[in-house]
């Protein structure tokens, strides 16, 4: 049965109607038109749909929309909300971590979540943090480099 849900997305409360079996991903993309989160597999295999739920990265394709009620949802659209790209976004561009771009938003959300929790990750920690995000273009090397560069940039800005 269709129901009204109030979701806290990127700091705003957004009201929408959906069936309880719909995924957070579909509601973000179709109802709220936040299409930065991608649908690559719809089965938690690819990580393209990664968003933050109460600060933690999750695959939004497996979160049923009622389960997201009352929690803070952050999508890729919020990272440059003030018009300035986040260092992870900028470094992904500068280090060549973006090719076809389809995995990129999910990859960036995983990397962003990592840096929130661990501002000085080792390469191994970076690889572990993005191991649930599949990229078929880059071979991951440049993505790891980009996350490392972003961590250094955030570190410099903080010091």
């Amino acid at each position: 049965m269709r129901q009204r849900y109030a979701l806290r997305v990127n700091g705003e409360t957004r009201e929408t109607e959906a069936e309880p079996h719909e995924s957070l991903l579909d509601v973000l993309r179709e109802n709220l038109r936040l299409t930065g989160s991608k649908k690559g597999c719809n089965e938690a295999e690819c990580g393209s749909c990664t968003v933050l739920l109460n600060g933690r990265p999750v695959v939004s394709c497996l979160v049923l929309v009622p389960d997201a009620v009352g929690r803070d949802i952050v999508t890729i659209e919020a990272l440059a909300g003030d018009g300035t790209p986040h260092p992870v976004q900028r470094q992904m561009v500068e280090q060549g971590g973006v090719q076809c771009g389809y995995c990129t938003p999910g990859m960036i959300m995983s990397a962003y979540a990592l840096l929130q929790e661990n501002p000085h990750p080792t390469d191994e920690e970076i690889r572990f943090a993005i191991s649930g995000n599949i990229c078929r273009c880059t071979g991951y090397g440049k993505i790891v480099k980009a996350v490392r560069a972003a961590a250094e940039e955030v570190g410099r800005a903080a010091s």
Partner: protein
């Protein structure tokens, strides 16, 4: 995949909703198995009863000397990142780290991993090896305690049947000089499902030499996670020399009952069991030794 959706606030309410459903409603924890099964239409349901808003099913507690208690709906990632868990029960952390992706483990629960009752469930072998028990609420609202080892009844089937609920898992405090380890084999090092897995918990004697107690559990090589009883018996009161470890591995190979499927042949799985059992025994022994040194200091 249309269905009714319920969000009970108490266990009683949840039990009532499931009873009313007469088997046509299913409990929902993390949802990372059932949502996919519903989408693929391999499972059908008239309703999902979301257990995640029931406070008793959430969280974990670890008191030194008193083991570990974890609520069935606790996200895997909570335990995975808990130093207090990793220090005393490294096999649990090792198993959690390889389930799906980090983004999945922020949703998926340990209880759900057990209730899904896949023979390859990664959290099962360490819990079986550590002698964990499951607190279960029967459809008749009785509370029961079941060893995790006896929790599984076949692929996708557990003692819960329809209408039963897993409330919590309790891992007893290991005896002194005990070490544990988990290993699995997957072709890909991330985002894959075990072709075979093994866990061991080994208690050494006071001298830190001979095996005083051992439990070995295997995953993905039988209809349920199983213990390798003959291998356990073989290592008892022996020093874990390379020869003893190798023979224990062979004993486990002989007693498992793997099948051929898309992930691997029975023969390949059997080979893996030999290798994995050797590795987890060695690792568990080293950890037991390290622990016996710190405990005697």
């Amino acid at each position: 995949m249309r269905f009714d959706y319920f969000e009970p606030a108490t266990l009683e309410e949840a039990g009532e909703l499931l009873r009313e459903g007469k088997g046509a409603r299913k409990p929902l924890a993390g949802g990372t198995d059932i949502v996919i099964q519903l989408r693929r239409r391999v499972v059908r349901t008239q309703g999902l009863v979301n257990l995640k808003r029931i406070p008793e099913l959430w969280g974990w507690a670890r008191e030194p000397g008193e083991g570990l208690r974890l609520g069935a709906c606790t996200p895997m990632r909570d335990l995975e990142t808990a130093a207090a868990v990793g220090e005393r029960f490294p096999s649990i952390t090792e198993a959690l780290r390889v389930v799906g992706s980090l983004q999945l483990r922020n949703i998926a629960s340990v209880g759900g991993n057990l209730c899904n009752a896949s023979p390859s469930a990664d959290t099962a072998p360490p819990l079986v090896a550590l002698g964990a028990t499951a607190s279960v609420r029967t459809p008749e609202s009785r509370l029961e305690t079941v060893p995790v080892e006896n929790f599984f009844e076949g692929p996708g089937a557990s003692v819960l049947g329809t209408g039963g609920l897993l409330l919590a898992v309790e891992v007893p405090e290991p005896a002194p000089c005990t070490g544990d380890a988990f290993e699995r084999f997957t072709p890909r090092s991330a985002m894959d499902i075990a072709i075979a897995s093994a866990a061991a918990a080994v208690t050494l004697d006071a001298a830190g030499e001979r095996v005083a107690a051992a439990r070995i559990a295997l995953g993905a090589v039988a209809p349920t996670p199983v213990r390798a009883l003959r291998a356990e018996e073989f290592v008892l009161e022996k020093e874990l020399t390379p020869d003893v470890v190798a023979r224990a591995g062979r004993a486990a190979m002989d007693e498992c009952q793997p099948i051929d499927d898309i992930r691997g042949s029975a023969a390949y799985r059997r080979e893996l069991v030999g290798i994995l059992v050797r590795r987890v025994l060695r690792q568990a022994m080293e950890r037991a030794r390290a622990r016996s040194e710190t405990e005697t200091v």
